[in-house]
């Protein structure tokens, strides 16, 4: 496992060097993809035949939901790596990514709720998809709370990693809730085995915005990981004094 090339960046100094080299490009890519995707989505894409202009909320809601699931899945993988290999960076990643994931989950829930009011006539329903997304938000909150609960980063990291791995069971529930249960939330129209059922005039801006959200995640992740690594350095310096 240690022969994987990616693990050579598990050294904080090498990781920080890599971040420094790529940060400007990532900021540029975030601005380009978000501007183009959101402009196309809000001004150039067609109205939906049923939802009208309300469909434009989808260009923010759907990429946020994808990011929320993707970030939690990556935290679960990093938690496994941390528990098995004890890589400091895996723990730093989990701690840094948690707030970003929680923010994307909150955006997905709130924008979905704003979309639901004019479409369904209500801000909230205890629907399987929506409720499981709320559970994901609480999992993120729990994960962040555990990290802040103890000064001992090893113990809190291990406890948070366990919660992240156990909570991963919620991810397939969120994804397949619309297939397993009769929900008010519409079924998947992009990520499905038979291919997307959404027209390319809407699909392309959606995918471009999703890429913009992904680059935004990397930008904020680098800032937060640098901050956490600096905090570790402060703790080590204070300990040796």
């Amino acid at each position: 496992m240690t022969n994987f090339k990616i693990f050579k960046y598990a050294n904080p100094a090498k990781f920080l060097y890599l971040c420094e080299k790529t940060f400007t490009y990532l900021v540029f890519l975030t601005i380009v993809f978000l501007s183009f995707g959101l402009y196309q989505g809000f001004f150039n894409s067609p109205e939906d035949y049923q939802q009208g202009n309300l469909v434009r909320i989808m260009y923010v809601h759907v990429p946020s939901a994808w990011m929320a699931l993707m970030i939690y899945s990556s935290i679960a993988v990093a938690s496994c790596i941390y528990l098995i290999n004890k890589h400091l960076l895996a723990n730093v990643f989990c701690k840094s990514a948690s707030l970003i994931g929680a923010s994307f989950t909150l955006i997905a829930i709130v924008t979905g709720s704003i979309w639901g009011k004019p479409t369904w006539g209500t801000w909230w329903v205890w629907d399987a998809r929506i409720t499981s997304m709320l559970v994901l938000f609480f999992l993120y909150l729990g994960h962040m709370t555990i990290f802040n609960f103890s000064e001992n980063t090893t113990k809190s990291g291990q406890a948070a990693a366990l919660l992240a791995i156990l909570g991963f069971v919620n991810i397939p529930i969120i994804k397949f809730s619309v297939d397993w249960w009769n929900t008010l939330h519409q079924p998947a129209s992009v990520i499905k085995l038979s291919g997307p059922t959404i027209h390319s005039s809407m699909l392309i801006p959606l995918l471009v915005t999703a890429l913009g959200f992904f680059f935004y995640f990397l930008v904020v992740l680098i800032i937060r990981m640098r901050s956490e690594i600096t905090n570790e350095k402060i703790n080590n310096l204070s300990f040796t004094e």
Partner: protein
């Protein structure tokens, strides 16, 4: 006049607000920690 403009603007601004707030919080935290780290490093060098 675009229908449901209030809902579209509310959702977009909420997302934008959270994303900008997250960057501001993260950058503030980084700057604060780097300042503390530089201060401790400087003190250690002087000692």
């Amino acid at each position: 006049m675009i229908d449901n403009l209030f809902y579209i603007i509310s959702a977009s601004f909420f997302a934008l607000f959270i994303m900008i707030l997250l960057i501001v919080i993260s950058l503030t935290s980084l700057k604060k920690r780097e300042k503390i780290f530089n201060k401790i490093s400087k003190n250690r060098k002087n000692n």
